[in-house]
């Protein structure tokens, strides 16, 4: 009964999260053409790297690194919140089922990520010429078994009470996973499976002596907080999202605002220049301008350069619209005698200057290709 309720709670929280984040994902989707272009450039560079590579003793180790990361790195959304130890703790007996449910929910995605990474590494590993694609397929299957084992070991790790022991356990797990992956790449799937079994048995036996909680509440809540922060960081890279609120960062360029003349009519400009410089919008502006300029510089045709410039200038315009929108806080409007019209104009002015400078930089590759 309680287990059902807990399961329902996890589903509800997951649904709520996706509902809340969907508008921001849609906003992020505006940049898909840009990401597609970045992806094409990355594929081109990867292809060039493979063409230049020769078989070498270090190549399997190099291939094992990204595969190890995808196998040993486990991210499980626990959906636990800071208030849960107070309100959900009475149902701790049902939490075993809850944890199984959240790990099982994360399992397919994690397997997919590991298999995807292994497949992406194949063109690189093929250069070594030690394995056919069929044999590599068997290695991928063994990798999925190792991934599942890693998820179980990860859960054991999260139960540990002491942070240092947890860190040592994690280090051993990652090292063991790397050696297993390397052995699998060099000697085949069967060896990888034997190594995986050895790793699990050693770590589980060693882990038995360690003090563990049935459910390490603090740890699980911290993991959820980190997962949320990672989403925010990811979505905040190119789009000003609601979740960025309050993410002000120091910026040495903020001194520029000091040059604004001290006068009532400039108060709005002073405010919005500082808001732009210290909010995530500053990073977004830099990233969009830099990526747009780099892609425009990489492509050959002058018209294509101009098109990419226009695309990124439009994206910049959409993002900069966020500047001044946080003024919705009704009470803050009454804090200072800044007339509404003047304040809106100040936000528009700052947006226009920033957009103009960004667009100038985005236009440089196209202009240079026409001039030179």
């Amino acid at each position: 009964m309680i287990a059902d309720r807990m399961g329902k709670l996890a589903r509800e929280r997951a649904d709520r999260f996706w509902r809340r984040i969907m508008p921001e994902l849609r906003l992020f989707g505006h940049y898909l053409p840009g990401f597609f272009l970045v992806g094409l450039v990355a594929l081109f560079l990867y292809d060039r790297l493979i063409e230049q590579l020769q078989p070498a003793p270090w190549l399997p180790a190099m291939c094992a690194l990204p595969v190890t990361a995808s196998v040993a790195w486990v991210r499980v959304r626990t959906w636990l919140q800071p208030a849960d130890p107070v309100f959900v703790m009475p149902a701790e007996s049902a939490m075993g089922g809850y944890v199984r449910q959240v790990i099982l929910a994360a399992w397919p995605g994690q397997l997919l990520a590991a298999a995807g990474t292994a497949l992406a590494v194949w063109p690189l590993f093929r250069v070594q010429g030690v394995m056919t694609f069929g044999a590599y397929g068997a290695v991928i299957f063994a990798l999925l078994v190792l991934k599942t084992a890693n998820m179980l070991l990860w859960w054991r790790e999260q139960q540990m009470a002491h942070g240092r022991i947890r860190a040592v356990f994690a280090l051993l797990r990652w090292a063991g996973t790397f050696l297993s992956v390397l052995a699998g790449l060099l000697l085949g799937a069967a060896v990888l499976l034997i190594c995986a079994a050895f790793l699990v048995s050693v770590l589980l036996t060693g882990g038995r002596r360690v003090v563990r909680f049935a459910l390490n509440w603090e740890r699980m809540i911290a993991l959820e907080r980190r997962a949320l922060a990672a989403w925010r960081r990811f979505l905040g890279q190119f789009a000003a999202t609601e979740t960025d609120g309050g993410a002000a960062r120091p910026n040495p360029f903020a001194r520029l605002a000091g040059f604004i003349r001290h006068a009532p009519e400039n108060a709005g400009h002073y405010l919005y220049l500082l808001v732009w410089l210290r909010s995530p919008l500053f990073g977004i502006t830099l990233r969009l301008t830099a990526i747009g300029t780099a892609i425009a510089a990489a492509v050959g045709d002058a018209w294509l350069k101009a098109g990419i410039g226009v695309l990124f200038a439009a994206a910049l315009h959409v993002q900069l619209k966020e500047l001044g929108r946080d003024e919705g806080a009704v009470e803050r409007e009454h804090l200072l005698p800044l007339p509404e019209a003047g304040r809106k104009k100040a936000a528009r002015d700052v947006r226009a200057i920033v957009w103009f400078v960004g667009t100038l930089l985005l236009a440089v590759p196209a202009v240079l290709s026409l001039v030179i």
Binding site: G245, G246, A247, A248, P250, A257, H262, A263, P264, N266, A267, Y270, L271, L274, V275, L277, R278, S279, A329, V330, E331, R332, H334, L335, L336, P337, L338, P339
Partner: protein, 297 residues
């Protein structure tokens, strides 16, 4: 009458028969009447939910009065919004800060908006920062400051601009004892210089000696108004502190309400249930203190 005299005699803030609320048809405050003159500190006191913050919201223009009138130096907000807003500096109960601005930048922004010169603002910022032990925090962002320090940013921003009127809502929450002392001393100094101050606080002992008069709100109505002597006379406590007087007033109002409830229940089985603010008899009417003006005018 000379124009200067006329200006001096016009109260900085005049609230007349103010009624208003959040939900249509249901007043949270009703019949509020008081004024704040230059060089006067008025304490707006009452229990949680008495209507203090609602009164302030009406004065600030965050809420529109359903009845009554609010004038700042004789001007209404709708007629002269800019001059009206430049007349006061507001210190809200919870700090309203821009996360992207440092302490120094908040103060500079306030100085710019109110038209205080740069040199004056810088000198005043240094002086105030020293008084509130904020010198080392001037270049910190609000996210890196404690709650009390964030409150100090609001105070610094309000004090640096030297407005004619200060509207201060629960300023002592989160402030350390030195900060409270510094604030009270500064307010007393500003009052001597001719500023008007309307202060809402639950820390009655802190404002008892500083305020010239008090407006006591209860369930959205003015329960009493006057200076300390008036309130003592009304409650029959010649040596009572503001705490004692306030508690006596609130208990008395509670007893009256209970009696009114009993008599209502006897005569009206439906039990009223209309407007909590409008539906009560005015408790100030029966006492010795008229509720016309906080300063007795």
């Amino acid at each position: 009458m000379a124009p200067r005299d006329a200006e001096n005699r016009t109260p900085l803030l005049r609230v007349e028969r103010l009624s208003g609320g959040y939900v249509p048809g249901k007043n949270v405050i009703s019949g509020i009447d008081f004024q704040v003159a230059a060089g006067e500190m008025v304490g707006l006191i009452g229990l949680n939910g008495a209507g203090k913050s609602t009164v302030l919201k009406h004065v600030l223009g965050l809420m529109k009065p359903r009845e009554g009138d609010i004038r700042m130096r004789g001007m209404r907000l709708a007629e002269h919004p800019e001059t009206y807003r430049k007349t006061y500096a507001w210190v809200p109960e919870s700090p309203l800060l821009y996360p992207e601005l440092t302490v120094r930048e908040h103060v500079r922004l306030a100085a710019m908006a109110y038209g205080v010169s740069e040199r004056e603002a810088e000198a005043e910022t240094r002086h105030l920062a020293a008084l509130f032990q904020m010198e080392s925090k001037l270049d910190a962002l609000p996210a890196h400051l404690s709650k009390g320090m964030r409150q100090k940013i609001m105070l610094l921003s309000a004090l640096v601009v030297r407005p004619p009127l200060y509207l201060i809502d629960e300023p002592f929450l989160g402030l350390d004892p030195l900060g409270i002392r510094a604030l009270l001393d500064l307010l007393a100094e500003r009052k001597r210089e001719g500023a008007g101050i309307l202060i809402c606080s639950h820390i009655l002992s802190a404002i008892e000696r500083r305020c010239d008069c008090f407006v006591v709100l209860h369930h959205g109505r003015m329960m009493a108004a006057g200076n300390m002597a008036d309130l003592r006379a009304r409650t029959g406590m010649p040596d009572g502190s503001l705490d004692d007087v306030f508690v006596a007033l609130v208990r008395h109002a509670g007893t009256e309400e209970a009696e009114a409830g009993r008599s209502d229940a006897g005569t009206n089985p439906a039990g009223g249930g209309t407007d909590p603010a409008d539906g009560r008899k005015n408790p100030t009417g029966g006492g010795t203190i008229p509720a016309k003006g906080a300063n007795g005018k």
